[in-house]
C-alpha cells in the first residue's frame, strides 16, 4: 500500500523542509562566515585554544591541551625592557585554534595581514610557539607568530613572564562546572550596557567553541566581570564560599576545586572549615575561617584566572 496515494504530499514535504533548511542554515551560515574577526576574537582564540568542551585531547574536561597567556615587561630574547605585553604561549603539541589552522575563520583582511606581517603560516602544532595580537596601520587586527618574527621561544617566554594566566584551562573548568547555566556571557544589546558593559560584536566569536552564551540568567553577566571587579582576593573568597562576601548569594560553593593542598602545601580540610563557618554564621565566632589560597596548579586557580581575564 505504501505511500503512493501520498506521492504529492511527500514531494511537498521534502521541498518545504529543504527550503526551510536552506533559509535557516545555508543563508545564515554564509552570512555569519563572511564576518571578519575582531581583536577580541583573536585574543579569545589564542587564550582558549582549540576547544573548551569535550574533545579527544581533554575528554574529561580537566583543562589539558591549553595555551598559557603571559604578561611580559621584558623581551624573552634579549631581556631588554618592553611595554607591558600579553603573549600567548602554545607549548609544543598544544592544538591551535581554528583561526590558525583554517583559512576562512579570521576573515579576509585579518587572514592576509596575519600571514604577511604575522607569519602565522610558519607555525606548527608540533613545534608550538608564542603568539601576539597586533593591530596594523589600517587598524586591522592580526596575529603575530612571535617565535618566527622575534625569536621568542616557548621556554624563554615562560621564563621571562611576570605572570601566567591559565584562562584557557579555566574556560574548560567553567564549561565543566556549568557556570554558564546561571551566568550569561552575553550582555544584551537593548539594556545591559551600564551594568554589564558593551555587548559583543558580530566578529567577536570567530574561532571560539563553545561560546557558552548562557540562556537563563540567574546571576550577573560575566562577559566583562574582570573589568568590574579585578580583586583576586574577592574572587578567591567568593568561589570558596559566596556567602562570605555576599550573604544573599545563591551560588554554590566551589571549595572542592581547591584540591587536597593549598598553595603552601597545607591540607585543605573542608569539613573543619565548614564547622567553623557554621559557628560563625550562628554568631558564635566573630571572624569567619581563613580561605586557603589555591595551589598554582589547582582547578580553582584556573577558574579564577579565567574569570579575572574576562575584561
Amino acid at each position: 500500500m505504501a505511500f503512493r496515494e501520498y506521492k504529492i504530499g511527500c514531494w511537498m514535504f521534502g521541498i518545504a523542509l529543504s527550503l526551510s533548511m536552506f533559509i535557516t542554515i545555508v543563508l545564515p551560515g554564509l552570512d555569519i562566515s563572511s564576518m571578519s574577526s575582531t581583536k577580541v576574537a583573536l585574543e579569545k582564540q589564542l587564550t582558549y585554544g582549540w576547544e573548551s568542551g569535550f574533545n579527544y585531547y581533554d575528554p574529561f574536561l580537566q583543562g589539558k591541551d591549553k595555551p598559557i597567556k603571559v604578561t611580559l615587561t621584558k623581551s624573552p630574547k634579549t631581556g631588554a625592557a618592553i611595554d607591558k605585553t600579553h603573549a600567548y604561549v602554545f607549548p609544543a603539541g598544544t592544538h591551535f585554534p581554528d583561526g590558525l589552522t583554517h583559512d576562512n575563520i579570521l576573515g579576509d583582511g585579518v587572514q592576509q595581514v596575519s600571514e604577511s606581517k604575522g607569519r602565522i603560516g610558519d607555525a606548527t602544532e608540533e613545534k608550538g610557539g608564542v603568539f601576539l595580537v597586533q593591530t596594523d596601520a589600517n587598524d586591522t587586527p592580526y596575529i603575530e607568530y612571535a617565535t618566527a618574527t622575534r625569536g621568542w621561544t616557548v621556554a624563554a617566554t615562560l621564563k621571562a613572564a611576570d605572570e601566567q594566566i591559565l584562562a584557557g584551562s579555566g574556560k574548560t573548568i567553567f564549561v565543566r562546572e556549568g557556570c554558564w547555566w546561571c551566568h550569561t556571557l552575553l550582555p544584551e544589546e537593548t539594556q545591559d550596557w551600564q551594568d554589564f558593559g558593551r555587548p559583543p560584536l558580530v566578529g567577536d566569536f570567530n574561532g571560539e567553541s563553545p561560546t557558552t552564551f548562557g540562556s537563563d540568567r540567574k546571576a550577573p553577566d560575566l562577559l566583562h566581570v574582570g573589568s568590574r571587579n579585578s580583586s583576586r582576593e574577592w574572587m578567591t573568597m567568593h568561589f570558596f564560599n559566596p556567602r562570605l562576601v555576599q550573604p544573599h548569594s545563591i551560588m554554590p560553593r566551589y571549595d572542592y576545586l581547591w584540591g587536597d593542598k593549598d598553595v603552601d602545601g597545607k591540607a585543605v580540610d573542608l569539613a573543619a572549615w565548614d564547622e567553623h563557618f557554621m559557628r560563625y554564621a550562628a554568631g558564635d565566632e566573630i571572624y569567619p575561617p581563613e580561605v586557603p589560597i589555591p595551589a598554582a596548579d589547582s582547578e580553582a586557580r584556573k577558574l579564577i584566572d579565567f574569570v579575572l581575564n574576562l575584561k
Binding site: 523542509l17 552570512d31 568542551g53 569535550f54 574536561l61 550569561t184 558580530v202 544573599h248
Partner: protein
C-alpha cells in the same frame, strides 16, 4: 520484558514494546522530576546538601533536563507510537522484538549519557550537551530503530489512507533524525563562533518544534476521538496544522538569540515566522476542542480526557506566549529571565506532559487489558501535576517579570536574587508536588497491572466502570 529479547517474533505478545517503553517513561518521569525538585531546592537554599559535590547544581541542571526530555517525554512518545501506529493501521507493530531491544538499549544509553553529563563531560551547548559519541548512539541506536518500527508499521498498514496521527508520527520521526544529525554537526565538524552558537539554538528550537510539540498534538488527535467516540472535527484543519508546522515551526530558530549579534535580517525573519506559529497552534486547539462537542462531561468524568484536554487548554497560553514573547517589542524585557523557564515548563510539563500522561494511562489499560486500578489515585495524580505545575509557572513568571524590571532599572543583581527568593521556594514546592504525584502514578500503574479489573474483549477501558 527481558525474556522476550531472544524470543521468536511470533512468540512476543503484541504491545510488549509499548508496555516496556511506557513503564520506563514513568520511571524516568519520577527520576527527572525528582532531580528537578532537588535542583530547585538548591536555588532556594544554596547550601542544601552542599557537602556532596556530585550533587552540585551546575552538574545536575542538565541531567534534569535530559532525564525529562529523553527519558520521560521521548519514551512516552515511543510507547504511544508503538501501540497507536499499529492500531490506526489495523495491523500489528512491524517488529516487537526490535521494539523491546530498542527500549532496552534506549534505557542503557540514557543512563550512560546522563552519567557522563553528571560528571561534567559535556559539549558545552545547551540542549545538545551530549558529547558526539553519545549523539551518534542516540541517533542510530535509540532513534533510528524506533523510527523504523513506526515507518514500517505504517507501510504495512491494512487501511486505506493514513490518519492524521500517523502522518505526524512518520514525519516527526523523519524530521527528528534530520534535526538531530544536523544540529549536532557543529561538534563533528568543529564549527566555531556565531555559527556554532546559532546552530545550538537551531537544534534546540527544532527538536522542540518538530518532535515534542507535534507528536504531543498527534497523540491528542488519537486519544480524543478514540475515547469520546466523536470523529475528528476536521481532517482539513488537521492538514493546515501539519503543513504549517512543517513550514512555520522549522524556521524561527534565531528568535532564541534576539539580543545576540546575529545578522538583523535573520532575527527579523525568525521573529515573523515565530508569530506565524500561531497558525498551527490555533488550528490544532480549535480542531481538538471542537471534536469534544457533546462530550464535555468526559472532561470531568474520564481521566484520559481530563489529562488530554487540560494539555490542549494549556497549549493556548503556551502558544500565545510563544508567538509574542519572541518579538523584539517583548523579547528584550523577558529574555533570559525566569519567564522563559516558566514558558519552557508550560510547553513540556504543561501541554506535552499532560498529553503524554493521557496516552500512557490509556495505552497501559488497553495493552494490559485491565481497568485502571484506582480512579481516586489517578485524580490525585492529576491535581498534584496541575497544582504543582501552576505554582511553578506562576512563581517563575513573576520572578521573570521581577528580573525584567531589574534589567531596565539596572538595580544591583543581588537585589534581584533577594526579591526572587520567595518565588524560588514556591517553585521548589511546585516541582516537589509533581514529583510526589508521579510516585503515586507509578504505584497506580503497578497495581493496575497486578490487580486491575479485566477489560472484556471488544470493550474499551473507558466503557468499564471503576471499582475503586
Amino acid at each position: 520484558m527481558l525474556k522476550y529479547l531472544f524470543a521468536k517474533e511470533d512468540d512476543i505478545p503484541q504491545g510488549t514494546a509499548a508496555i516496556f517503553f511506557g513503564v520506563s517513561s514513568i520511571a524516568w518521569f519520577i527520576i527527572g522530576t525528582g532531580l528537578g525538585s532537588f535542583n530547585a531546592a538548591k536555588l532556594a537554599f544554596p547550601d542544601f546538601f552542599h557537602g556532596l559535590y556530585a550533587l552540585q547544581f551546575g552538574h545536575m541542571r542538565q541531567v534534569h533536563v535530559h532525564a525529562v526530555i529523553f527519558g520521560w517525554i521521548a519514551m512516552a512518545f515511543a510507547a504511544s507510537m508503538m501501540y497507536i501506529t499499529p492500531a490506526l493501521g489495523n495491523t500489528k507493530l512491524w517488529s516487537e522484538k526490535l521494539g523491546v531491544w530498542n527500549c532496552l538499549l534506549y534505557n542503557v544509553g540514557l543512563c550512560l549519557a546522563l552519567a557522563l553529563l553528571w560528571s561534567g563531560v559535556t559539549s558545552g551547548r545547551e540542549y545538545s550537551d551530549h558529547i558526539w559519541p553519545i549523539d551518534l548512539y542516540i541517533a542510530f541506536v535509540m532513534v533510528v530503530p524506533w523510527s523504523l518500527n513506526v515507518w514500517m508499521t505504517i507501510l504495512n498498514r491494512r487501511t486505506q489512507g493514513i490518519y492524521t496521527t500517523n502522518w505526524f508520527f512518520a514525519a516527526c520521526m523523519f524530521m527528528t533524525i534530520i534535526v538531530f544529525l544536523i544540529g549536532n554537526m557543529p561538534e563533528w565538524l568543529h564549527l566555531t563562533g556565531l555559527n556554532e552558537a546559532y546552530m545550538t539554538w537551531w537544534f534546540a528550537h527544532n527538536i522542540l518544534g518538530l518532535l515534542i510539540t507535534p507528536v504531543a498534538a498527534a497523540i491528542t488527535y488519537y486519544i480524543v476521538p478514540k475515547v469520546t467516540g466523536n470523529p475528528l472535527y476536521s481532517h482539513r484543519v488537521g492538514h493546515l496544522h501539519f503543513w504549517s508546522i512543517v513550514v512555520f515551526y522549522s524556521t524561527p530558530a534565531a528568535h532564541h538569540l534576539m539580543s545576540s549579534p546575529l545578522p538583523e535580517w535573520l532575527k527579523s525573519f525568525a521573529s515573523v515566522e515565530g508569530v506565524l506559529i500561531l497558525v498551527p497552534a490555533v488550528a490544532y486547539v480549535c480542531n481538538i476542542l471542537l471534536t469534544m462537542q457533546g462530550k464535555w462531561a468526559m472532561f470531568v468524568e474520564n481521566i484520559e480526557i481530563k489529562f488530554t484536554i487540560t494539555g490542549v487548554l494549556l497549549a493556548i497560553p503556551l502558544n500565545m506566549q510563544g508567538g509574542f514573547q519572541q518579538t523584539r517589542a517583548i523579547n528584550w524585557y523577558i529574555h533570559g529571565t525566569g519567564w522563559i523557564v516558566a514558558h519552557a515548563h508550560l510547553a513540556l510539563l504543561g501541554f506535552s506532559t499532560f498529553a503524554e500522561a493521557a496516552a500512557v494511562y490509556y495505552g497501559m489499560q488497553v495493552l494490559l487489558r485491565r481497568k485502571l486500578y484506582s480512579a481516586s489515585l489517578a485524580n490525585f495524580h492529576f491535581w498534584m501535576l496541575l497544582i504543582g505545575f501552576s505554582l511553578y509557572w506562576t512563581s517563575m513568571t513573576i520572578s521573570g517579570l521581577i528580573q525584567g524590571a531589574a534589567k531596565i532599572y539596572e538595580v544591583p543583581y543581588v537585589d534581584v536574587v533577594i526579591a526572587e527568593h520567595p518565588y524560588m521556594i514556591v517553585r521548589w514546592l511546585g516541582g516537589t508536588m509533581v514529583f510526589f504525584g508521579n510516585i503515586v502514578w507509578l504505584y497506580n500503574m503497578i497495581m493496575t497491572a497486578r490487580v486491575g479489573d479485566i477489560v472484556p474483549v471488544g470493550r474499551q477501558p473507558a466503557e468499564v466502570a471503576y471499582t475503586r
